[in-house]
C-alpha cells in the first residue's frame, strides 16, 4: 500500500458534485444575486403598474377636450382672473383697514381668547368660587327672613354670614394666587393657532400689548367674586375699534375701495352665468363619454360571465347588458352648441372688460397704503391689471381656435404629466395629474434642507476630525450619529410643535420683515420641512464627510504646518480640497436621503398642491402625495397609476443621485 502524498486531501466533502469551496461561493453569490433580482423586480413592477397611466391619461385628456370642458375652462379662467382682481381689492382693503384701525380692533377678541385659556387652567379654583357664591345666594333669603328673629338666632345668622363670606374671600385669595402664577404663561404660543396670527400682528404693532392683557387678566380674576365686568380698556377698545372702523370707512381711501369692490362684483355677474351654462353642458357630455368608456369594459366582463352564470343570473346579466350605453354620442353635434356660443361670449367679455377698464383707474395708488401686507397685495394686483388685456385676449383666442376633434397625442400627454401644474383627484369637474408642483415642492424643500445641513455637517466633520480633542470626538460623534435613531414621525411632531411655531414667531419680528415671504401665513411651510429634513440629513452627511476628511493623510497636515501654515489655512488649502470629492458625495447622498423622506413632509410641509413662489409657502411633495392618496386610490384607476408613476420618478431620481455620488467617489476619490 503506497503512502498517500501529504498534499492530497484525504476526504473531499462533496454534494451534487460541488465541493466545500463551491458551496461557500454559491452561498455568497446567491445573496448578491437575490438583491439584484429584487431590484430588477421592483423596477419592473413599478414600470408595469405605471406604464398604463399614459393611455389612461391620454383618454382622460381627450375627454377633457372632446366634451368641451377645455373650452369652458378658458372662459372659466377669464372669470377667475376677474374674481381674483376683486378678491385682491378686498384683501388690500382689509389689511389696510385693520392696520389703520390699530390693535384696538383685535384687543377684545384676544382678551377673551386669553381668558378662555386662563379659565381652562383654573377650573378647580373657579368651581370653588362658584360653590362659595352659591352657598351665599341660597342662604340670603333665609338670612333676610331671620333678620327679625330672636337675638340668639340673629347672632347665629351673623356668624354663618361671616363664615360664608370668609369662605368666599378665601376662594378669591386662592384664585388670585393662581392667576398671578399662570398669567405670565398665557402667551401667544399657547393660544389656538387661528388666533396666533392675529396675536402676532397685535404684538408687532404694540409690543407691550400682551403684557397689558396679562395684567388685565390678573386684575379681572383678582376681583372675580365682586364683579365680572370686562376691564374698561377692553370694552373701550372694542367700542373705539368699531368707531374707528366706521370713521375710517368714510374716508376717501376706503370708500373708494368699497366702491371699486362693489362695481367689480357687478362686472362679472352676467359672465358668471354664461360660464356656468358652458360648464353644465360640458360636464354632461363628459359624464356620458366616461360611462360609454367604462361600458365597453363592463360589456366585455358581462359577456365573459354569461356562459358560466346560472339561468336566473344570466337573465339579469342580459338586462344589464341592454342597459349599457353602447353607442357613443355625437361629439360634433355637442361641440356645435359650444361653437355657437362664441358670439355671445365675445359680447359678454367685451362688456366685462370695458366696464373693468372704467373701474381700474379708480383704484388708489400704492403710496396711499401704509401697511406692508396691503402694499404687497397691491403689487400683485398691479401686475394682474397690467396683464389683464393680454390674458383675456389669449383665453379668447384659445376658445376661437379650440377644436373638439383634435386628439391629444402621446407627447402632449407626457408633457401634461411632467409639466402639468394641476394635481386634482376626486374632482367634481375634471381630474388632472400634473407632476410639476409636487416635483417643485420636493426639490425646493430638499434644496433648503441641503443648504442648511451642508455647513453644519461639513463644519462638524472638520471640527471633529481635525480640531477636536479625543474626548470631544468621543462625545460629539455618537451624539450626531444618534440623531439618525430618532424616528421621523417623532421628529415631525417636534416640527409641528416647536420648529413651525418658532419660525412663524420669527417671521413676525418687525426687523426681519424685509426677508422674502415674511411674515409667514402658517406654521406648515417649506422652510419648516426644510429645517427638519436638514436635521435628519446631518448625521448621514456628517458621517460620510468625516470619512472623507479622515482619508486625507495626516502627513498633509504635518507638511502644511511645517511650511508655516496655520490650522485654518491647512484646513482650507489642503484638507478641504483633498477631500472635496468625498464631501460632494456626502452632500449628494444627503440629497438622496432627503428627497425620499416622507413622514416629515407629509406632516409639516403644508399639503398645498401649487408651484411654490417663496420659501414660506406651503407645498406638497412627491413622497407626500403617495403616502396620502395610495389608500384612497382604487387599484387600477388612473389615480393609482399616476401615483405609481410618481413613485417610479422618485426611484429614478434616487438612482441617478446615488450613481452620481458613486461616480464622484470613484473618479476623484482615491487620488491619495
Amino acid at each position: 500500500m503506497s503512502k498517500e502524498h501529504p498534499f492530497i486531501n484525504k476526504k473531499q466533502f462533496s454534494f451534487l458534485g460541488l465541493g466545500k469551496q463551491d458551496a461557500i461561493k454559491f452561498l455568497f453569490g446567491g445573496n448578491a444575486l437575490i438583491s439584484i433580482i429584487a431590484l430588477i423586480l421592483i423596477t419592473l413592477f413599478l414600470a408595469k403598474e405605471s406604464i398604463y397611466f399614459f393611455p389612461d391619461y391620454q383618454s382622460n385628456l381627450n375627454i377633457y377636450r372632446k366634451s368641451g370642458k377645455e373650452f369652458a375652462d378658458y372662459a372659466e379662467n377669464q372669470l377667475k382672473y376677474q374674481k381674483e382682481i376683486k378678491s385682491l381689492v378686498t384683501q388690500v382693503k382689509q389689511y389696510e383697514l385693520f392696520h389703520q384701525a390699530g390693535v384696538d380692533a383685535y384687543i377684545p377678541e384676544l382678551f377673551s381668547t386669553m381668558k378662555t385659556v386662563a379659565i381652562e387652567k383654573m377650573t378647580s379654583e373657579l368651581l370653588a368660587v362658584k360653590i362659595a357664591k352659591n352657598r351665599i345666594t341660597s342662604k340670603e333669603i333665609i338670612w333676610d327672613i331671620w333678620s327679625e328673629g330672636s337675638p340668639e338666632e340673629q347672632a347665629q345668622m351673623k356668624a354663618q354670614k361671616a363664615e360664608f363670606s370668609q369662605n368666599l374671600i378665601k376662594t378669591q385669595e386662592a384664585l388670585t394666587a393662581k392667576i398671578n402664577k399662570i398669567a405670565p404663561s398665557i402667551k401667544i404660543s399657547t393660544l389656538s393657532p387661528q388666533f396666533q396670527k392675529k396675536a402676532y400682528e397685535v404684538q408687532r404693532q404694540e409690543p407691550s400689548a400682551i403684557k397689558t392683557l396679562q395684567e388685565a387678566l390678573i386684575s379681572y380674576f383678582s376681583n372675580y367674586t365682586v364683579s365680572t365686568k370686562t376691564p374698561d380698556f377692553i370694552t373701550q377698545s372694542s367700542r373705539s375699534g368699531v368707531e374707528k372702523r366706521t370713521v375710517l370707512l368714510q374716508t376717501p381711501l376706503f370708500s373708494n375701495l368699497s366702491q371699486v369692490e362693489k362695481e367689480l362684483t357687478e362686472t362679472y355677474l352676467p359672465f358668471n352665468a354664461f360660464v356656468e351654462k358652458l360648464r353644465d353642458h360640458a360636464l354632461l357630455v363628459s359624464i356620458r363619454a366616461e360611462s360609454f368608456l367604462s361600458a365597453a369594459d363592463r360589456k366585455k366582463a358581462i359577456e365573459e360571465g354569461i356562459p358560466e352564470a346560472s339561468p336566473e343570473k344570466k337573465k339579469k346579466l342580459l338586462i344589464d347588458l341592454k342597459r349599457l350605453i353602447t353607442e357613443d354620442q355625437d361629439y360634433g353635434q355637442q361641440a356645435e352648441v359650444l361653437y355657437a356660443t362664441l358670439p355671445e361670449h365675445q359680447e359678454l367679455l367685451s362688456k366685462m372688460t370695458s366696464s373693468s377698464h372704467a373701474i381700474f383707474p379708480k383704484l388708489p395708488n400704492i403710496n396711499e397704503f401704509e401697511n406692508k401686507g396691503a402694499r404687497r397685495i397691491h403689487k400683485k394686483l398691479t401686475k394682474l391689471l397690467k396683464d389683464y388685456d393680454a390674458f383675456m385676449a389669449q383665453q379668447r383666442s384659445n376658445m376661437e381656435s379650440w377644436r373638439h376633434d383634435q386628439t391629444i397625442g402621446f407627447l402632449k400627454t407626457l408633457g401634461g404629466f411632467v409639466f402639468g401644474q394641476k394635481w386634482i383627484s376626486n374632482s367634481s369637474w375634471h381630474n388632472f395629474f400634473g407632476l410639476a408642483p409636487l416635483f417643485g415642492g420636493s426639490l425646493f424643500i430638499t434644496l433648503i434642507a441641503i443648504t442648511i445641513a451642508t455647513p453644519f455637517a461639513v463644519g462638524g466633520a472638520i471640527y471633529v476630525n481635525r480640531i477636536a480633542s479625543k474626548a470631544e470626538q468621543n462625545f460629539i460623534k455618537p451624539i450626531i450619529e444618534f440623531i439618525q435613531a430618532i424616528p421621523s414621525v417623532v421628529l415631525a411632531f417636534l416640527g409641528v410643535v416647536v420648529v413651525g411655531q418658532n419660525i412663524l414667531k420669527l417671521s413676525y419680528i418687525p426687523w426681519l420683515e424685509w426677508l422674502p415671504g415674511f411674515p409667514a401665513s402658517g406654521e406648515q411651510m417649506m422652510l419648516t420641512a426644510g429645517v427638519l429634513l436638514a436635521f435628519m440629513a446631518i448625521p448621514t452627511m456628517f458621517t460620510l464627510a468625516e470619512d472623507a476628511i479622515n482619508n486625507v493623510p495626516k502627513s498633509y497636515t504635518e507638511a502644511s504646518l511645517s511650511l508655516g501654515a496655520t490650522r485654518l489655512q491647512t484646513i482650507f488649502n489642503v484638507i478641504i480640497p483633498s477631500s472635496l470629492s468625498g464631501v460632494v458625495a456626502a452632500i449628494l447622498l444627503g440629497f438622496g436621503r432627503i428627497i425620499g423622506e416622507t413622514m416629515v413632509v407629509l406632516l409639516v410641509a403644508g399639503g398645498t398642491i401649487d408651484w411654490p413662489t417663496t420659501w414660506t409657502d406651503p407645498v406638497h411633495t412627491m413622497t407626500g402625495i403617495i403616502a396620502q392618496s395610495t389608500g384612497e386610490a382604487a387599484p387600477g384607476s388612473i389615480q393609482y397609476r399616476a401615483l405609481f408613476l410618481v413613485g417610479l420618478f422618485l426611484f429614478g431620481i434616487s438612482l441617478i443621485i446615488n450613481s452620481l455620488a458613486q461616480n464622484v467617489i470613484k473618479k476623484f476619490g482615491s487620488k491619495h
Binding site: 480633542s469 479625543k470 502627513s555 504635518e558 507638511a559 511650511l563 488649502n573 480640497p577
Partner: protein, 260 residues
C-alpha cells in the same frame, strides 16, 4: 541675546526631556546636543530611540499630539527658547522647515506645491512667485526634470522626484534650518544618491538636521553625529570620530553592526 553664528550654535538642546503621555514616561531623557550653523547634523540609533521625536520637537510639530509635554530642559533656536508661550509656532516653522520620511506632496500641481508656503503669507506678485518657484526647484535639482510640466499633478512624479519636490517646497519659504526625517528611506539607491547630493549642496545655505537609519548615509553627508539609544543620548561627536573611534561601548556595538 544676539551672538554671532560662529560663536554660538544655531540649535541648542539643553538637558531636554520629553513625554508623549503627560509626563508618565519620558521618551527623551536629558538630551543635550548643539548643532552648528550651516552644517549637517545626523541623528542615528535603533528604531524607537527617540531621534524622530527630538527632530519633531525642533519645529514643535509634536504640538499636534495632545498628550505630549516637555518635562525638563529647553530647546533654543537662534538663541530663543522655542517653547515659551510668546513664541508663535507658525513663525517658528517658517524658519524651521521639515522634510518627511514618506514623500507627501499635496494633490496639487507641481507649481502649486512649491508656491504653497509663499501663498500662505498673503497675495504674491505672479512674477515673484514664478521666480521663487524656479529658484526653489533649481535648488532642489529638480528644475530641468519638471520645467515643462509645472502644471501637472505632483503625484505623477517618481518617488525620488516627489521627495525632491518636498525639499523644494520646504526651501521655497526660505527657512534657516531644514529638518529631514529619514528622507531616503522610501527611495531606491539612485534616488537616494540624488537626494544626498542635494543635501551636500544645501548645507552651504542651510543648517540641516537629518534622522537616518543608514550609517553609511550618516558618514557620507553629516558633519556631526548623535547616537541615541532608548531615549538617551549616548554619544555626540564629529562624524568621523564617532564612527572611527567611538568612545562608548554601545556606540561601538551599534556602528559596527553588532546590534540595531
Amino acid at each position: 541675546m544676539e551672538t554671532s553664528s560662529e560663536e554660538r550654535p544655531i540649535i541648542e538642546i539643553d538637558d531636554f526631556s520629553f513625554s508623549y503621555n503627560r509626563g508618565e514616561t519620558d521618551t527623551l531623557k536629558n538630551i543635550s546636543v548643539s548643532c552648528p550653523e550651516k552644517k549637517v547634523t545626523a541623528f542615528i540609533g535603533p528604531s524607537g530611540c527617540g531621534k524622530s521625536t527630538l527632530l519633531r520637537s525642533l519645529n514643535r510639530i509634536n504640538d499636534l499630539v495632545d498628550t505630549a509635554c516637555i518635562t525638563n530642559g529647553q530647546i533654543r533656536i537662534m538663541g530663543q527658547d522655542i517653547n515659551t508661550p510668546e513664541v508663535d509656532p507658525i513663525e517658528l516653522r517658517k524658519n524651521v522647515g521639515m522634510v518627511f520620511q514618506k514623500y507627501n506632496p499635496f494633490p496639487k500641481s507641481i507649481y502649486d506645491n512649491v508656491a504653497y508656503g509663499l501663498n500662505l503669507q498673503g497675495k504674491q506678485k505672479q512674477s515673484d512667485l514664478d521666480d521663487a518657484v524656479e529658484k526653489s526647484l533649481r535648488g532642489a535639482a529638480l528644475w530641468d526634470e519638471v520645467k515643462d510640466r509645472l502644471k501637472d499633478s505632483a503625484l505623477g512624479l517618481s518617488g525620488g522626484q516627489q521627495q525632491r519636490l518636498c525639499i523644494a517646497r520646504t526651501i521655497a519659504v526660505n527657512p534657516k534650518i531644514i529638518l529631514m526625517d529619514e528622507p531616503c528611506s522610501a527611495l531606491d539607491p539612485i534616488a537616494t544618491a540624488h537626494v544626498e547630493q542635494l543635501i551636500n549642496t544645501l548645507k552651504q545655505e542651510y543648517t540641516i538636521v537629518i534622522v537616518t537609519h543608514s550609517m553609511q548615509q550618516a558618514t557620507r553627508i553629516s558633519d556631526n553625529t548623535a547616537f541615541f539609544y532608548l531615549g538617551e543620548l549616548i554619544e555626540f561627536s564629529p562624524t568621523k570620530e564617532l564612527f572611527s573611534n567611538p568612545k562608548n561601548k554601545r556606540t561601538e556595538d551599534y556602528v559596527s553592526g553588532r546590534f540595531g
